[in-house]
């Protein structure tokens, strides 16, 4: 059941990204370009996602644990340190260069654009480097 649920969640996630226009880098860059022809689409996507998650999490967390696993696996780190903020700054810089964050880049792979594949391979290398 667990893998099936993960598959369904991934499918919903990928469909939501695509429906929201997030698999088109031009839409994402249009949101980040506040000094240009600003495209607010990303704000609506994020707003919709946040509203549902905010309410849904509160309902889920009333339970003692998840349906198919022993316990909730939540981040335990509390420190707002240089690693967190520096990492976020590097991420934002890359996001602004390409208009891809990890989810939309991976979801766009089946379209078989060489540039998307190159981005994802480099992203995996960067992730692996950060885990060392």
């Amino acid at each position: 059941m667990g893998p099936l649920l993960a598959l369904a969640a991934g499918l919903l996630f990928g469909a939501g990204l695509a429906l929201g226009g997030m698999t088109d880098p031009a839409v994402v860059l249009g949101f980040l370009d506040v000094a240009g022809a600003w495209n607010p689409t990303l704000a609506f996507v994020m707003g919709g996602a946040l509203a549902v998650t905010f309410v849904g999490y509160r309902l889920v967390f009333r339970r003692a644990g998840p349906l198919l696993a022993g316990q909730f696996t939540l981040p335990t780190a509390r420190a707002i340190d240089a690693r967190l903020l520096g990492g976020a700054a590097l991420f934002g810089a890359g996001w602004g260069l390409a208009g891809y964050c990890p989810g939309p880049a991976i979801a766009s792979l089946p379209a078989a654009h060489a540039g998307t594949a190159a981005f994802v391979l480099a992203m995996l290398a960067g992730l692996a480097l950060a885990r060392r």
Partner: protein
């Protein structure tokens, strides 16, 4: 922009939120893409199965939307190969060091009112905006 496009974006966002809630309800996991993918890279974690299944679903999502909309929702890459490789390295390194991306911090973390996620989201939004400003309005 037409109100129907706002609604479509809002609904797309709601689907993403639904996926995040489903993953927490079922497996107790944060729906953060960089974290889910990172766990598949060395050093290996034992729980790779649900991660791979989630990514399989993620890969299939846009095709389903393509059938519904009658057009391909996936756009062309917005930069040349060298820039995309540099951007990919920055995104991978940054989300790895910063423990999350737009989904893990920007959706799941903000929904949990996590101070770390609020700080990270503010920083990557500002950095993204700054980079676009430099590329489009200073260099371009």
């Amino acid at each position: 922009m037409f109100p129907t496009l706002w609604l479509q974006a809002l609904f797309g966002g709601a689907l993403i939120g639904g996926a995040a809630v489903l993953l927490m309800l079922g497996l107790g996991r944060i729906a953060g893409i960089s974290g889910i993918v990172g766990g598949l890279l060395p050093p290996a974690v034992p729980d790779w199965r649900w991660r791979l299944c989630f990514i399989a679903g993620l890969l299939a999502g846009p095709a389903v939307v393509g059938l519904v909309l009658g057009r391909d929702p996936v756009g062309m890459p917005a930069a040349g190969l060298p820039v995309l490789v540099a951007a990919g390295l920055l995104v991978g390194l940054g989300t790895g060091l910063g423990s999350g991306c737009t989904s893990g911090h920007g959706v799941c973390g903000l929904a949990r009112l996590s101070p770390r996620s609020i700080a990270a989201t503010g920083v990557f939004m500002l950095a993204g905006g700054a980079m676009v400003f430099v590329v489009r309005h200073l260099v371009g």
